[in-house]
Symmetry: C2
Subunit: 361 residues, 2 copies
Amino acid sequence: MIFKLALFNANDCIKIMLKKRITIKDLARELGYAPSTISRALNNHPGISKKTKEEVQKAVKKLGYTQNSIASNFRKNTMLSIGIIVPRIGIHFHSLVISGIEEMAYMRKYNVTIFQSQDSLDREKEIAKILQTKMVDGIIVCLALETNNYDHFNQLKDNKVPVVFYDRVPENYEASKIVINDYQSAYKATEHLISSGCKRIAHISGNPEVSIYKERLKGYKAALVKHNIPLDEKLIEYTKDLNYDEGVYSAKKFLNLEHKPDGIFCANDYTAVSTIQVFKKANYSIPGDISVVGFSNYPISRIIEPTLTTINDRAFEMGQAAANLLIRQIEEKSEIISSETVVLETELIIRDSSKSFNSHK
Amino acid sequence: MIFKLALFNANDCIKIMLKKRITIKDLARELGYAPSTISRALNNHPGISKKTKEEVQKAVKKLGYTQNSIASNFRKNTMLSIGIIVPRIGIHFHSLVISGIEEMAYMRKYNVTIFQSQDSLDREKEIAKILQTKMVDGIIVCLALETNNYDHFNQLKDNKVPVVFYDRVPENYEASKIVINDYQSAYKATEHLISSGCKRIAHISGNPEVSIYKERLKGYKAALVKHNIPLDEKLIEYTKDLNYDEGVYSAKKFLNLEHKPDGIFCANDYTAVSTIQVFKKANYSIPGDISVVGFSNYPISRIIEPTLTTINDRAFEMGQAAANLLIRQIEEKSEIISSETVVLETELIIRDSSKSFNSHK
DNA sequence: TTTTATTATGCAAACGTTTGCATAGTTTAA
DNA sequence: TTAAACTATGCAAACGTTTGCATAATAAAA
């Protein structure tokens, strides 16, 4: 033990005994180099000889040096870090997006700090304030349900922190956005119902103040109009946040109509699932009597009986795309942050809750 | 315009024009105070007069100052940040835990940085290396499936970075842990099947090398033994990671047994759901012919028909508890980091996939 | 041999904030 | 009136790393 300790100089001994962190200076003292040389050696700078680099690596192991990345980030004035503001992490869609973001960020050596707005505008503002303190190099946001104005993101813009929005994105606000084409997707879903023989198609909508639900509603209507099917407001149910119970409620209303629908396009899978269950319980056959199409391709859509025809909303890819775009903007460092909108292609996944194109008579 | 600009001094003008960040020094110059005074004013230090604090706040607004928290963290040698290593964010259980962590952390002014190990030991090691560079003040980990040795956490220990494990925790390794009592929970679940009249109870297990699944298996066996029901290895199916398809496979094997089970305890809800579906498809009535109990209380357990009796594994609370314990350890700063294990109480949620205590004859 | 490149290293400042100690000014107590 | 206490502020160092510039040492070219 004494022999082992003798290999260290007095100062290092003290550091080790006090469990102080070993710094570059300690390595410098140990090896008789200047701190700058150590720094360059650690960063594999070309001007440092191979021999020295090896010496340094050996000393790193010996003294147990780990970089103080706060100091490094401070000096380099970059965090290699991106922030996410998400309504709720527990919602499957968002957790998939976050997963995609993390995956892409990790590859590019960035790390990812998450915040939940809990769908509250106030909290979103608070978080925006926290994030503009140079804590992150860029931010990815899905707006809170409550959010109807975007001033709190201006400060970030002013400080040249790039922001990329996804899914619930601000309207009439210059910013980078990653979205799917909700209009087009809803159109596609509705058209699928039409072409599989449905004549009276209902829609369970989210809050139409929120742009994505507004677009889905529009797409639904456009498909009907295109195929000369009259719109009927009784066939549209508006919900607050498209949860399971609201789906039950809406489906029951459809069930009680004198002239019942033979197809329902739901703005998400939760309501689609509850719709299926309500109609099954009322002894309707799906898709025999009524077809149901959802939106999002949640895991449950493959499990519910019948399995649910739905739109794959590409959550994971959305996260990847958001991280990708954000990091590009961070690293561009041009004077003006460019605004770019990426629209991801969705796909209609046809399962058993709707008749397939071929099977309709 | 000129008048407005005249309110700024020359230096500030340059800063603003170049869009350089405003610092404490700029505020100091603007107001004729020392930077230290500004710093104290901003941090609401008692030694600074109210008048000065107000002046400073006014200048902050005027010049648009935001703190450089990298610098601040650097100087204070703390990040107010906790890291999470999680197998996969997209798994609902983990996203709930993360949600709980974020919630607690946010209240305590910490932020949360997430990493996915993708259930890979190598990646877990890599992340541990990244995290020990003083990037975070403490770490919360759920081990990767592959992980069978814990040396990569020793470096963290050496650098006095507290670590709290949850759910999949290391065995025979001194560390803080947040767990549920898997043994007890499985015992409870199995006993419920017994007391609702089942005589032949099967089990779908996860990988029994993983401690939580080993414990669930043990609990299952113990309940049988306690109630004098003979163990039968044919009634136990081992899976790799308890996914839906493995559940289907296992359930079919049970279905093909000459002497079929009348109750199945599944180590998670996915396999329970597939079990229900397999038996339903084979025209078994649930819970009439066979009862099924799951584990985790996933959202799907309330939707599947029949709704699934399961164990509430308290994911959100687990996250809260982990963050709580970790932050306490961070702030204790005692010389030795204490190891503490918190066992959360689970509850059996009885739904329609098993007969209730009262209804069994 | 002298000049010019080339290579390897060191010096010292800088990044923005915080903080222990010092000090000037003011009030209170003796 | 002087000492003591308190208030408000300033000075300067410190945190650990990086980096532009300078320099010493060596090798190559003239």
